[in-house]
Amino acid sequence: MDMMAHQTNTLLLSIATFVYVGAMFLYLFGLVFKKKFLDAGGFAIFILAFLIETAGLIARWIESYHLNYGHIPITNLYESLIFLSWTVAIMYIIVDLKYKARKLGFPVSLLAFMFMAYASFSPNVSSRIEPLVPALKSNWLTFHVVTSFFGYSAFALAFGASVFYLISDWYTTHTNGKVLSYLPSTKVLDDLSYKLIIVGEVLLAIGIITGAAWADYAWGRYWSWDPKETWSLITFLIYIVYIHLRYSWGWHGKSAAIFSIIGFMFVLFTYLGVNLVLSGLHSYGST
């Protein structure tokens, strides 16, 4: 029984990985052939991948109870990569419903696929369900991880919008003012990227604060300049600079898009780089 359930969750998650690839190609064809039905198809397949992934996560959660560990599946590198792709997917679905940014499906499904493929196929990432070490047994865990990851996701989408902005802008300047009709207008992309960054910034701030509160409950120190803490603060500050440049100097358009792309590199390093390159308290990056 245990063995079965365990296979179910990883199997579902592997299937979801491939379905995301399917969505990615439909979105890509949508961009190349400029056909609306391809985007719609991409979105439908994307939703399917998202639902399979959700089922996989739930199966994994249940499985952890069969193993008598009983914890939310966000506690090691494998789970965190899957969870990140899941939050990116939700963020995209919300943004699409609110702002009609369906074209972002391509970078989003690419990111979702990459995170899941890394989780599923890297020999360095174990898909085993592991018990919680005492320090992680806290209600703050869920709140801290969920807010931080939705923050990361918002930055990821802002990154996608900014890349599209640069492509669109590049096309316009190199074709004497023609507009890439199949991408949202640069105005929309610039605004979307900004909006996602402020959403990400609030979520990241809450993530940092809940992490600090947790550390205070567990160790009596809300801040200890652990590399993960420091890098999350650095990422927060990078986007704070972006916001001040935008508010006080009116930065927008190309310079803001470049800044947003650089900002996302900081997000990636905070999420993965710190664990893979540096050493510290957040153990999920170790193998």
Binding site: E130, P131, V133, P134, A135, K137, S138, W140, K187, V188, D190, D191, I198, V199, E201, V202, A205, I206, I209, A212, A213, D216, Y217, A218, W219, G220, R221, Y222, W225, P227, T230, W231, L233, I234, L237, I238, I240, V241, H244, L245, R246, Y247, S248, V274, L278, S279
Partner: protein, 446 residues
């Protein structure tokens, strides 16, 4: 003198300085994540070599977040935030308390968002229509008159103008909390064996002895492991004593500390204090008589008549054979010989008997000490308050923006009126909103 002060003031009141300071803080903070902080000097020496070590040490890079220059950067940043806020706040209050209800026509015409609409009706009818329409779709307009005509003024999202100040204020509150914590708080640790008590703890930074106003006694320490050997839980049963009286008692867990008189005791770590006792089974060769005994290290146990044994040494993993004890066999209290017993291979010693008894090493009862963190931080509530205000400030600043609309109905009404507006930021969102408003107004006109 005043000039210098003025210059300093102006230096600190610039947003440019804030951006530069943040970038410098980012750049330097990265150093401390690349160079591991607060390791023993020997480790740095080994890793970097003597000359690099001296250079890095000179700049306090092994404890850089507490170095004078990094703290100076943070202080400069806070001063910058305070001066910036002080400088701009009065103007903002004035701006918000006395909104410009009417503006010159040239200014109105210069706005990007502007629309002139025609209306077939009297001026009075138009005013009534606009008032009710705006009330319905936007908000109640304020009516004003100027030499150009009648103005309707609408403003939304003024809360956004306060957001940045709330946010900046929260940083100051957090900073005050950090200062209070660093002056009136401490961060220390103590390791306690089961049954031990102490009122002396060691500070983490500087490793100085600190006397607590009470004594901590560890009644019991328990550690549970998962099958994989990963710790599942560790708990210390603590009693706090004051002058011999128990004043507090709690079994603390990693996320369940004990607080007494502002001082909190956390379950931080544990360590192996060695094996405290060994369970041994003695059985007669005919298996008729069994005896389970538990022996401490070096404790002699009489097996029979003048023969006794004692556990002399213990290894958790002797040459890959697992837990092993070294047993001494005594006759008339004189050591005769020694022999090793393996927990995993009870038959290793075959039929060799001691005074007619077979000895079997059942298990070692390992004893652990508990690692407690003892901390006091009277600044923490301020930091927490500041953090909550920070989030409120960010939400106020980000998810709202101030925009103003003016409607000008000229005195010499010729059947047209003008709507124009401007937003402090989020120009694109405002463009959309303005379009919608114009659409609604035009609909109402019909």
């Amino acid at each position: 003198m005043d000039k210098i002060l003025d210059k300093i003031w102006r230096f600190f009141s610039s947003v440019k300085l804030a951006v530069v300071l943040i970038l410098v803080i980012i750049a330097t903070a990265i150093i401390g994540t690349v160079i591991q902080q607060n390791l023993p000097d020997e480790m740095y020496l080994q890793h970097y070599g003597a000359s690099t070590f001296r250079l890095l040490n000179f700049f306090d890079l092994f404890d850089m977040y507490h170095s004078w220059w990094f703290e100076l950067l943070l202080i400069l940043f806070i001063m910058n935030v305070i001066v910036c806020t002080w400088e701009r706040l009065p103007a903002i209050f004035k701006m918000l308390s006395k909104p410009k209800l009417q503006i010159p026509v040239e200014k109105l015409n210069a706005f990007k968002e502007k629309e002139t609409i025609s209306y077939k009706g009297t001026k009075e009818a138009l005013m009534t229509m606009l008032s009710s329409k705006f009330r319905e779709i936007y908000k109640e307009p304020i009516h004003a008159k100027s030499e150009d005509g009648d103005f309707l003024y609408l403003e939304k999202g003024r809360i956004a103008r306060f957001g940045p100040y709330i946010t900046h204020l929260s940083l100051v509150i957090i900073f005050i909390g950090v200062l209070i914590g660093s002056f009136f708080g401490f961060d220390a640790y103590v390791n306690l064996d089961q049954g031990d008590a102490t009122n002396i703890v060691k500070t983490i930074r500087g490793s100085k002895d600190l006397t607590l106003p009470f004594t901590i006694r560890c009644n019991n320490f328990k550690i549970e492991f998962y099958d994989s050997g990963v710790p599942k839980a560790y708990k210390s049963d603590l009693t706090l004593l004051n002058g011999g009286d128990a004043v507090a008692h709690k079994i603390i867990d990693v996320n369940q500390p004990l607080t007494y008189k502002g001082i909190t005791i956390y379950q931080a770590s544990y360590g192996q204090a060695g094996a405290s006792s060994f369970d041994i089974m003695l059985s007669r060769s005919d298996n008729k008589n069994k005896d389970d005994v538990s022996l401490n290290l070096n404790q002699q146990f009489r097996v029979k008549d003048n023969t006794s044994i004692a556990v002399l040494d213990y290894s958790a993993n002797y040459q890959g054979f697992g837990p092993t004890i070294l047993v001494g066999i005594y006759k008339d209290n004189k050591l005769q010989r020694t022999s090793i017993y393996l927990q995993k291979y009870p038959d290793f010693h075959g039929a060799e008997a001691i005074g007619g008894y077979k000895l079997r090493f059942v298990k070692a009862n390992e004893s652990f000490y508990t690692g407690l963190q003892v901390a006091k931080d009277p600044g923490a509530p301020y930091v927490a308050t500041g953090a909550i205000i920070l989030i409120i400030g960010l939400i106020m600043s980000f998810f709202s923006y101030r925009r103003r609309l003016w409607v000008l109905i000229p005195d010499k009404f010729n059947g047209t009126f003008t709507i124009a507006g401007v937003a402090d930021r989020n120009k694109y969102s405002f463009e959309m909103e303005f379009e919608k408003i114009i659409h609604e107004i035009k609909k109402g006109e019909k």
